[in-house]
Assembly symmetry: D2
Homo-oligomer: 156 residues x 4
Amino acid sequence: MTRSTLRTKFRIAVIGGSVADEQSLQAAFRIGELIAEKGGILICGGLGGVMEAASRGAKHKGGLTVGILPGSSYKEANPYIDLALATGLGHTRNSLVALNADVIIAIDGRYGTLSEIALGKIYGKPVIGLNTWKITGIEIARTPEEAVELAWSKLK
Amino acid sequence: MTRSTLRTKFRIAVIGGSVADEQSLQAAFRIGELIAEKGGILICGGLGGVMEAASRGAKHKGGLTVGILPGSSYKEANPYIDLALATGLGHTRNSLVALNADVIIAIDGRYGTLSEIALGKIYGKPVIGLNTWKITGIEIARTPEEAVELAWSKLK
Amino acid sequence: MTRSTLRTKFRIAVIGGSVADEQSLQAAFRIGELIAEKGGILICGGLGGVMEAASRGAKHKGGLTVGILPGSSYKEANPYIDLALATGLGHTRNSLVALNADVIIAIDGRYGTLSEIALGKIYGKPVIGLNTWKITGIEIARTPEEAVELAWSKLK
Amino acid sequence: MTRSTLRTKFRIAVIGGSVADEQSLQAAFRIGELIAEKGGILICGGLGGVMEAASRGAKHKGGLTVGILPGSSYKEANPYIDLALATGLGHTRNSLVALNADVIIAIDGRYGTLSEIALGKIYGKPVIGLNTWKITGIEIARTPEEAVELAWSKLK
């Protein structure tokens, strides 16, 4: 009986708006691909926009995707989520997204994303930003590749 | 790009005390094995006792195990949890265990288990009981095999 | 500058169904009155049925009432709640009702009430039952007067 | 039997760090005083620093103070809190502070404050900032008096 191989994988949260422009969606998709290629688990809020694009990217490369949902039905996740967790907590679930990552990549986004950035910093998680809020304590990346590289540099 | 095969799997929560007698632990282990053999995902609270025994059983048969933890570090899960979700909600997380199952099997247990049974019923989840609280609305099983059979009979 | 006089008051949660029969509503009203007469703060789930009847009773005698709501608007409280707290947590808020009482009185009720009884016991709160679930660890009262008397006997 | 007079009062959340410099503490104290003088209810996180200074100011003028605590004991509130609500949710409780205000005044603060600002905006609450995060959507005040005046201008 061996321990789970999933346990040793890094967890990268990709956060961003449920509505986003084409550039952000493409960046999210590419970041999802790169996370999967590097063997990471993608954590996200499980809904549309940046969350769905990143999940789709990760699944495109055979990765594992986890969605932490605001609603009370785990069936509300986007179709690229492998394991959806319903919370029934509404926006309060943002805290759980931040809590379950080793590192967070923020793409674009509005106040929901800002709350997850702030909660991530409260929990001591490194936060990488790509075209998102300019907040002290976020490290800025200019490309999806740089974002994922920076993210991995934080993992140990 | 195909959708996740995990999405079509049934989810069975096994709930019970973090401390339990040998008979309950053996039942939990056997139930974990049976859930894995039938292709279900085991959902539990991620800690010791009945939760760990069921997880160990599921991993023994190559199943997938999810632990929804009270604490704020996902590393606190028992070693047989594939995917641990930290909540930082304390006992309030019991609600999320109930919410994320298609059906619940309760083994032994004290007030934590009782709260999960009650929350499961609030959420309309079928609850199967094995040597646990006698509560109206729980269906009683006498063996691990019968518990899993009853659980599957509720799934559609 | 003196400290708040509210801080020294006992807090009694009255829990029970949002739909209840006339006898339970009358008992809840009377218990609310007695809590107010004894100078306690009434804690409840803030909605209808037993919660509203108890709040109405407490206000009838000039007491202070607190409602801990499942929804995200504090304006959803019944009209007899002085201070409504919105949680946006759905049924998960039951945990917060139990957490904020020094002692709990359960009247009638279904699974929501059962979850609050169980959570109360997890948190080490004394639970008094009036025509409610028969659960080990609940002390049974036969009348509103006896329920409140028993509740006060637990406070120190 | 009259309805509660508390129900018609405005609720102003004062958010800010549990550690703060003297200038921020004095501003928080003054804001607390002004909220009480205007008949508002002060909502805060119930702990030290800005939260305690604002509560102390409000009590100095005979106001009502509510503290929504991260821990699971309502006795952990600062001594100027009239009504403390324990949540046991840790930092996740920040969401409930934002949810329970009609308007939010942010003073100084770090990531906890930033998360409450963001959650406040998610919930559509006006946010007034005094020497705090520069975030789009916050209205800036230069003095405690201006902050409270701006806050009241948002209430209807």
